[in-house]
Symmetry: C2
Subunit: 335 residues, 2 copies
């Protein structure tokens, strides 16, 4: 995350080196090619939002960082696994300002690198045992991780299916991002709470906070995909349009544009050979429809809802402040 | 497995319907496309060797079938996940007498179907908790599953790397099959023993039995890939040659053939456009080198070693007999 004068940023800076070292320690071995491909995206950086969320939540319920670390690593490994496979499926060539894994090592090894990260994610979370976390809590945390990975796969399937459809509703979209993006945020927060021994009520509220914030995160992602600075974002802007993704912006625009402009927008969506001028024109059609403003308000509402659950979550004051800031960061971030 | 007058076959017939029903119960949901793609290979059959091994071992240490079932399901789901991804990487069009997942649903959804099976495999093993298995044993069993999935990925990476090399030694090959094939057999047996509460000594011996039998299984697989009846095998014979796989047969033949024939064999290995006549010629070169006989003896020795560990494993008499038969079946099977 960016350097700002916020508690959550200070916290992130304090733990990031340890987190990164721990992350990479899980992706060492032979054959060298496989492990290099697996570590590639991890080494390229990333915001580490999900593991920081997990660690903050655990801290908020009284568990030391060091004990929660294997779970934080697990969440980030799982996230990176999904990115590696998604990049193959979406044929994306860049992420985090570096070429994607399959662009360097080819599809076969990239599939395998994703699989390895996935396996390592489970190895990591089971290492909670070594930190003295109770076995029943380790099982419950691991179950949540498996649930998240099932759910994210379902979400990615919906996302791909939507690319082929012109009738995707906002409701469809909300279900898709619930699965594809929000589930992992929810799992991160719930796992942090579970291993810290939080109550059922606390687990529920902190999970809801994260789930709603996760949805807002995806909406912000859609907006950034249209408007961000490409260097800052680390991946090509307008690729959502090229791939025909049914983002909330696209869905809104399609519902508001007149028949003629709607037809033009549909003809550009998913056209992988479209020149940049055409993509920019599509982006302008979307912007002119008022979609960005609409999406922004939607994200804002989700964050307000998330904050209500945070209030009831019972985390300590320090973490309460950090997680409020995190929620605000999620809708205001520029990358 | 085939219907023969053996205890292990009778056991397999007795439990297979329940096992299959349980397997499929984990692969139901939405989006429908994703779940159909995920269930496709499972529905096409398969020998279910690994889950049967797991159930038999658990029984051999006194655990009822029903309690071990989630782990048996987990092992077969993990196996099927690796098949779905391997088929993409190896560009195989048929398996179990049906088109492979990516041939029907495309690569993107096949990657995702594999990922889903992988996730479900962990959901399944964690369901041991619901059967009253002690939490520390559930954690240990799940750890073994994660270890197996890491190891299988490493093995597949070696296997693919070998296709590009002409200097693969028998030692390299043995390490590769240890990881790609034997690890999952070993995990199946060890997990069966772990959840049944077997001693460390027992877990070690039954694991060794399965590991060695697993290596013999792969060698038999190599032989069947050269000589089997295609219909019975359910996948194209000679595809190992087309893909340039460094099987034990190929490695032996390359070490024995004269320079001229060696060159010819190397020129055909991995030539995906080679007509069937050329593949058959390569197969003849391999056979004439004595490779099949050599591999058969190698497999036989591994089985003899495996049986020594089985003797020390302390499983009950009934299961001892079943697992002896299973070992013999592994090197004599025709599919």
């Amino acid at each position: 995350m960016e350097s700002k004068n916020l508690k959550i940023m200070a916290y992130s800076r304090k733990i990031i080196d340890k987190l990164n070292a721990e992350l990479l320690s899980y992706v060492k071995g032979e054959p060298v090619d496989l492990y290099e491909a697996s570590a590639h995206l991890l080494k390229a950086g990333g915001k580490r939002l999900r593991p920081i969320l997990l660690l903050a939540v655990a801290k908020g319920y009284g568990l030391e960082e060091d004990k929660a670390l294997p779970a934080a690593v697990a969440i980030e490994l799982l996230h990176n696994f999904t990115l590696v496979h998604d990049d193959i499926m979406d044929r994306d060539a860049f992420r985090r300002n570096v070429p994607t894994v399959h662009s360097i090592w080819g599809e076969a090894l990239a599939i395998l690198a994703g699989d390895l990260l996935f396996s390592k994610s489970f190895e990591a979370i089971l290492d909670l045992e070594k930190k003295g976390i109770r076995h029943d809590l380790v099982v419950r945390a691991t179950r949540k991780l498996a649930w998240a990975s099932v759910t994210v796969a379902e979400g990615q399937a919906l996302d791909m299916d939507f690319e082929k459809r012109d009738d995707v509703s906002e409701e469809d979209y909300m279900l898709m991002i619930e699965k594809k993006t929000a589930a992992l945020f929810q799992a991160a927060a719930e796992i942090g709470a579970i291993i810290a021994g939080a109550s059922e009520e606390q687990i529920k509220h902190i999970g809801e906070y994260a789930r709603l914030a996760g949805k807002a995160f995806q909406i912000r992602d859609d907006i950034l995909g249209l408007k961000a600075d490409e260097k800052k974002l680390g991946k090509p802007v307008l690729s959502d349009i090229r791939e025909g993704k049914r983002t909330i912006l696209v869905i809104y625009a399609l519902s508001k544009l007149d028949a003629n402009k709607r037809r033009v927008l549909l003809s550009i969506l998913g056209d992988r050979t479209a020149p940049i001028e055409k993509l920019r024109y599509a982006a302008r059609l979307i912007e002119d429809s008022g979609a960005v403003q609409y999406a922004w308000i939607k994200a804002r509402k989700l964050i307000d809802e998330a904050l209500k659950h945070l209030e009831k979550s019972g985390v300590n004051d320090e973490v309460y402040e950090m997680l409020s800031e995190l929620a605000e960061y999620i809708v205001s971030r520029e990358k």
